[in-house]
């Protein structure tokens, strides 16, 4: 039950069911689709990489987060978690192995999909607008990096929430309601919005990935600060999950 063996077991779990494959396919279709449509309908407009990658930020990564959460909540729902903990009684090893596997998978998928989306958009805009999406521009690779970081951290966040909440519905509710409903609503509440808007985790995620979605807050700590802030939130959730999983009877 070394860490490497546990990671390998988690990898096998991921490739021996069909749902991860379908979810990954959904991610690719939605992400490339949104990039393609934007470039196709307005080929003469300036399309910055952040806009072309919108589909990855608002559809792709959330779906990958749900995929990650399912690797935990699916085990709790079916009782398979007992088999897992019998094989690897050091439960932190299990949570960390799961985190590593989904981080690599989701990070990889996000990176490849972002590159694909930007390349597709670049191919569909008119040649004069192509420079902004060229694969030799720093802005493009900065965006690929930011999205990859978001996909990686987001999947680990989902593992942590999955361990803490154990129910798929609860985790999906948090992962969908938080960025799309709760945070935007809190953000527009007078007084409150200005004060806590910048502290909301997904507001920070959108800040460092450059996704223009519903609203943006001015963050004095800049994109790097926002990335660090989001990473800190993920680390805190994962730490809580590691603490809880050891103490709670499954």
């Amino acid at each position: 039950m070394s860490f490497v063996a546990t990671v390998n077991a988690e990898r096998i779990k991921l490739v021996t069911t069909r749902s991860p494959r379908w979810l990954v396919l959904t991610v690719i279709v939605l992400s490339l689709g949104l990039a393609g449509i934007q470039a196709y309908v307005m080929p003469y407009s300036y399309l910055p990489p952040q806009r072309a990658a919108l589909g990855i930020g608002v559809f792709g990564v959330p779906v990958l987060m749900i995929l990650s959460a399912l690797t935990v909540t699916g085990e709790y729902r079916t009782g398979m978690i007992h088999s897992t903990f019998l094989a690897t009684p050091r439960r932190c090893t299990v949570v960390l192995a799961k985190s590593l596997v989904v981080a690599l998978l989701c990070g990889g998928i996000t990176a490849v999909t972002t590159v694909g989306a930007l390349a597709l958009a670049g191919a569909l805009v008119v040649p004069t607008q192509r420079a902004a999406l060229a694969l030799d521009s720093v802005a493009v690779w900065r965006e690929v990096g930011a999205m990859t970081l978001y996909g990686t951290l987001g999947s680990v966040l989902a593992i942590g929430l999955g361990v803490l909440l154990r129910h798929t519905a609860a985790v999906v509710a948090v992962l969908v309601l938080l960025p799309f409903v709760v945070e935007p609503l809190l953000g527009v509440v007078p007084e409150v919005g200005g004060r806590i808007g910048s502290l909301l985790p997904f507001a920070n995620a959108y800040a460092f990935t450059g996704v223009q979605w519903l609203q943006t807050f001015s963050l004095w700590w800049g994109p790097v600060g926002a990335a660090l802030y989001f990473a800190a939130v993920v680390a805190a959730v994962l730490a809580a999950a590691l603490l809880v999983v050891t103490r709670r009877d499954p």
Binding site: T17, P89, D249
Partner: protein, 303 residues
Amino acid sequence: MIELTSLTKDYRRIRAVDELTATIEPGYVTGFLGPNGAGKSTTMRMIVGLDRPTSGTATVLGKLYRDLKDPMRHVGALLDARQLYPNRTARAHLRWLAATTSIPAARIDEVLESVGLTEVADRPAGSFSLGMAQRLGIAVALLGDPEVLLFDEPVNGLDPEGIRWIRTLMRELAAQGRTVLVSSHLLAEMAHTADRLLVIGRGRLIASTTMTEFLADSGIGTVRVRSPQSGRLAELLGARGASVQREDDTLLVQGIEIEAVGQLAAEHRLTLHELSTRQASLEEAYLRMTEDAVDYRAAGARS
């Protein structure tokens, strides 16, 4: 070898397992008996570290389960046959389990063969009947070739052929020198399988005994005879050293085989209206035993 020391588990206000102390020795099938809700499953879950004891300890091979290196190579457990992901095939389920402990892939085919699931190994485990799922659970338990085996109600959902198979399997495993702990709420199920018994009721240890002793105490050897010449028959049986209880024309005989009673009656040309063994007495003895424990608890609570 499994050692339980003052093992206790509280669920909010209910005490599921109460100061349980016992040693389960290798080389025997130990039956773990108790009515539903007696704390058998909770105890087994604590042995394998799924539930944290409120106090006390459960050790396997002298160590806490979580301190075992590669626990699947030391302990095999069938706790609930359905603890798997329904869309994954039986073979894939065994594959990831084997990977956690670096068990070679050839072993997967071996255990599938030994539980008779080779032909359905590539079907989703969720499509299995309870009996098949139970067999897969046993395959999981055997995967690491462990020296300690725990089976929680293993015959649930098995057909008669399957029940005989698992009984034989448990006896073989014990004969190989392994420690086998099997829980059940049915004593009859254990009568032909277990060498030793651990009886619990309401989380407390009621008896730790051998099957032979238990049977001797329970009066399982009782033969019931009805005869119009019961008085004469009672004399003859008494002369053979059997103990006889007489009620009108009915005799309850202990200490003699049923065949010998028939033989004796034939030799003396006595008419018999009934000659049978008392099947229920085993369950009765067990119920008497567990009821006592309940009474004891109630009395303890009052004082």
